[in-house]
Symmetry: C2
Subunit: 215 residues, 2 copies
DNA sequence: CTTGCGTAGTACCGTACGGTACGGTTCTGC
DNA sequence: GCAGAACCGTACCGTACGGTACTACGCAAG
């Protein structure tokens, strides 16, 4: 349904991991993104990374290549949570979901994620520059891909009863709600770590209430 | 909690409504925003609106002023739904919420809203340019302000049982879920009008299930 | 020591755009 | 019909930035 025209996401196969020096550069880009949004110049990157613009262009081709490499590097740092499918009690299931929800909210309202998503949103308007696509693939879609098997296991264990895609939509809504868009729009009123824990907990409880096998 | 340092939102008091000619200009800006995102130039506005750049600068001061005027004009076009507090049956309440949810989803996934929110998000990164703030005030906050009295009425009639701010967060999450962020990131898979009706209906049902007075 | 490669630093070019200036034209009030 | 303001169209300026060219230096191999 969603996987159409697979984009080049072969950062895990082609050029494996960026070298230490490259990571320095990409890290500078991330910092600049957080500080100045999309406005930073190639010159500022070169200056702060103590490299020449020529090197940037040799390594990444153009500005968009640099941004793409940065986004993909950042995405590659997010690790996949595991759920051992053996002992799937309601307790385990619920706790796993809560932990995931908490971590997800923390990431999404973090500075780096905000900067990255701002960049992707603004680039999604202008055609060319597939940054929006890439963030979409590594953001919502990736989370969906990660959560679906978890939901599936819960379903097979009779803990929930709902179609997978509906489960994802519901879970996203209950957990994230308006937190992300408000952060993107510059709302300074960010949820504290305590708020997040609270949100995650009640979201999971609501989730289980709504689709905890009863139909 | 949210209303701090009230920004200049006096488009309703100072210069009332833009003239017909001004509306032509602002409409051109909206069109260009939908077509090209933030990338459009003042020259392109002048060209398509068949006016001179000098006029644009005389009227709006600078580019940011033009954008601000456009955003505020668009926001002023959204009308406030009413709920007659007299006959507040569960049926009426539920139908009102469903209609609101449906309309909300339609607006948020529409081209104009997407373009506007993209603009606001990208400007929220760069300080100066209070566009993010303005969209935040006229988007999520305005919806919150609109919904709170409705929830309050429902609460007083014993139909729901939840704190107002929690009700808003919950309602937002159930109705909007990942639809807006996906649209902003350029997901072409927009919900059809039928999907929207479906989403709105089940969202309201879920909302009433979760906080329909039972605690 | 010498040769050659990779890179830092910098100067440079072309372009795009925000903002201004100005001549010519239309509209408005008297 | 006349004066003044508003406005259109366009030419122009300054700047900022993406991208390229070139020089100098460090360093490793032979």
């Amino acid at each position: 349904m969603n996987e159409q025209a697979p984009i080049n996401l072969d950062y895990s196969t082609s050029e494996d991991a960026p070298s230490a020096r490259e990571q320095e550069v990409l890290s500078v880009v991330l910092d600049l993104m957080v500080e100045e949004g999309d406005g930073f110049s190639m010159a500022s990157v070169a200056r702060r990374a103590a490299c020449s613009k020529e090197t940037l262009y040799r390594w990444y081709g153009d500005r968009d290549g640099l941004l793409t490499a940065t986004v993909q590097w950042q995405a590659s740092k997010v690790v996949m949570p595991k759920l051992d499918d053996a002992n799937l009690s309601l307790e385990t299931f619920s706790e796993t979901l809560k932990a995931f929800a908490s971590s997800w909210l923390t990431v999404l309202t973090g500075d780096v994620s905000i900067a990255l998503n701002r960049l992707a949103v603004s680039h999604a308007g202008n055609n060319k520059s597939s940054l929006g696509r890439i963030v979409l693939e590594n953001g919502p879609y990736a989370m969906r891909t990660r959560l679906l098997p978890i939901f599936l296991k819960g379903q097979k264990s009779g803990l929930i009863n709902v179609r997978g895609d509906e489960a994802f939509r519901l879970f996203f809504g209950l957990v994230i709600a308006d937190a992300q868009i408000r952060a993107l729009l510059g709302d300074e009123n960010k949820p504290s770590q305590n708020d997040i824990k609270q949100f995650a907990q009640s979201a999971v409880e609501q989730f289980l209430t709504l689709c905890g096998s009863k139909i």
